[in-house]
């Protein structure tokens, strides 16, 4: 899994491309959960053809605009990228979809995923919420070949 450790500062996923995470550092989630989150991210991206990224950290005062600014830098193809941003300190969860992704993931599907995620987050199940949310989002988006006409 690649990840960006810098905060909302410098910005490019290319900087960390192909880099290996130093997993000796104790992070917010256990390594087993990290592996499950990694698999969920990779599999949902592979199945849907969308670019799912996950941000866990503070989202500032205006969480929505921060999440949208993060989405603007979430990759080379932001139209197809979906950002799941959660701020456990603020207890806020934001899902941002790009223009092409929004056609396959309507706001209603995102709201449904948010609803199931917040239920789990409220009980402290961070990794379970992320994994099930990603699963729900990828189920809603479907497979790209089925949508191609």
């Amino acid at each position: 899994m690649t990840q960006q450790l810098d905060s909302r500062g410098s910005s490019d996923t290319r900087d960390t491309q192909g880099s290996v995470v130093d997993e000796t550092r104790s992070g917010p989630v256990s390594f087993r959960d990290l592996a499950r989150i990694d698999e969920a991210l990779t599999m949902s991206s592979r199945e849907t053809g969308l670019w799912f990224t996950l941000y866990v950290g503070d989202l500032g005062a205006d969480t929505r605009s921060t999440a949208e600014a993060l989405h603007a830098r979430s990759g080379e193809d932001t139209a197809n990228s979906v950002l799941v941003a959660l701020s456990p300190g603020q207890r806020v969860l934001e899902i941002v979809t790009g223009s092409a992704a929004a056609r396959r993931l309507p706001d209603r599907a995102c709201a449904l995923a948010v609803l199931s995620m917040t239920g789990r987050l409220g009980s402290g199940d961070l990794a379970g919420a992320i994994i099930n949310g990603l699963r729900q989002l990828s189920d809603a988006a479907g497979h790209p070949s089925h949508r191609r006409h």
Partner: protein, 109 residues
């Protein structure tokens, strides 16, 4: 049987079993996940941004993903590749970062 044998069988053996399970369940630190998140506690970890593995196939529609596999990332067109190097698009975006978000949802817990 002698009374000492009775005490050993009906007293010492159950007590040993009880103590064994007590030690197994009450051993300090066991089952207590330090990284567990609890709602309401402050989040003092640094922000982390996870993304899928770069060799995720088919992000740009499966067909020509193999041709671009050497680049390690999704296939980018000529324009995008040029932009990735650092050139600006010919239409200058003066209003700062453009808005890419088209939808989504938000929730609190």
């Amino acid at each position: 049987m002698p009374w000492i044998e009775t005490v050993l069988i009906y007293g010492a053996i159950p007590l040993a079993v009880f103590l064994l399970f007590a030690v197994l369940t009450l051993v300090p630190g066991h089952g207590k996940d330090k990284t567990r998140y609890r709602p309401g506690q402050p989040w003092d970890h640094e922000p982390v941004w996870y993304e899928p593995h770069p060799d995720t196939a088919g992000v740009h529609g499966g067909g020509h993903a193999d041709a671009d596999a050497g680049h390690g990332r999704r296939g980018v067109g000529a324009t995008a590749a040029a932009l990735a190097i650092g050139e600006r698009p010919h239409e200058a975006d003066t209003e700062g970062p453009r808005r890419t978000a088209a939808g989504g949802a938000r929730g609190t817990w």
